[in-house]
């Protein structure tokens, strides 16, 4: 999957699952500081990523995610090796 497709799908998930404003979402945005997503929200997002991209994200890797771009990187790495 192309990076741009991953970013677009991730953005859709953030809007649909976490109720974020599409305009606020950038790859640099930090979940907790910029987007006001609490730590449980990040866990829920990672669950949604697993479901929607059909990947497994181990807890140790999930814990390192702080920005939208990092979430996209992780999905990209899981999908494309």
């Amino acid at each position: 999957m192309e990076r741009s497709q991953i970013e677009a799908k991730l953005t859709d998930l953030l809007v649909d699952e976490l109720g974020l404003e599409r305009d606020d979402i950038t790859m640099e945005a930090k979940f907790e500081e910029d987007l006001d997503v609490d730590s449980l929200g990040v866990v829920e997002l990672l669950m949604a990523l697993e479901d929607n991209f059909d990947v497994k994200i181990p807890d140790e890797e999930a814990e390192k995610i702080t920005t939208v771009g990092e979430a996209a990187d992780l999905v990209s790495q899981k999908l494309n090796g």
Binding site: D38, L40, V43, E44, M47
Partner: protein, 248 residues
């Protein structure tokens, strides 16, 4: 009872005693219930038969809920047979009573594993499904021993007090997602566990109880059934003491 939605419930340690009563009550409310047991398959099968005879749905699921791999297997089996778990009742519990001076570390560890580690493992195991469904009920059995203490039960009381702290913390973690987490603390209830104490101990206990008698498993189950229902939607992080007024 305004609760009409049929949900999937897992009751740990429900082949007999209070767990059995809870399983039967939840089934009578229309929920599909997984009867978890460790060794007594005949008893678990009997509970399933009793529920089915009453028109309910139940399956028996074997597994030691203090063990990580066993919990994963139990969760997978319930999911496969009934669907995602929406009501978890952490009931499984054992006693290994002794004066602290004589208590072996093994007696401490095994009680912690079965009575407290199981609560952690099972609650963690149902979390994904409940977060996804934005609805859930986690109800754990504490004990008056965990609220007031009891001589000879330092291990049991510590585990049961641990259940209360766990309940309040998890309630705060996931309350925003429509999941409530509560505990029920029974007093002296007539089960195999209290029968093992002998008549002298139970008679002496009954004298200290405001209602003048031991409780019945069904009387604990009804509190659990209430907390599991829609009617209890605004109650979380609480411990309901069901002890016949023991501490009054």
């Amino acid at each position: 009872m305004s609760d009409v939605t049929s949900r999937v419930a897992l009751v740990t340690g429900s082949s007999r005693g209070i767990g059995r009563s809870i399983a039967e009550l939840l089934a009578s409310h229309g929920h599909r219930v997984a009867i978890n047991f460790v060794s007594n398959e005949a008893a678990a099968t009997e509970v399933v038969s009793a529920i089915e005879a009453a028109g309910g749905t139940a399956v028996a699921v074997k597994g030691d809920v203090g063990d990580e791999a066993a919990v994963a297997a139990v969760m997978a089996e319930v999911q496969e047979k009934l669907g995602p778990i929406e009501i978890l009742v952490n009931n499984a519990g054992i006693t290994r009573d002794d004066l602290l001076m004589r208590m072996k570390p093994d007696a401490w560890d095994v009680v912690m594993q079965t009575n407290l580690r199981s609560v952690f493992l099972c609650s963690k195991g149902v979390m994904r499904g409940m977060l996804r469904g934005r609805w859930g009920r986690i109800i754990s059995l504490s004990s008056v021993a965990g609220v007031y203490g009891n001589p000879g039960q330092a291990n049991y009381a510590a585990a049961k007090a641990g259940v209360i702290g766990f309940t309040m913390s998890l309630a705060k973690e996931i309350g925003s997602r429509g999941i409530t987490v509560n505990a029920v603390a029974p007093g002296f209830i007539a089960t195999d566990m209290t029968a093992a104490l002998g008549d002298d101990v139970t008679n002496a206990a009954a004298e200290k109880i405001t209602l003048g008698r031991l409780g019945l498993p069904e009387e604990v189950a009804s509190a659990v059934g209430y907390l599991a229902s829609e009617d209890a939607s605004y109650i979380t992080g609480q411990t309901i003491v069901v002890d016949g007024g023991l501490a009054l």
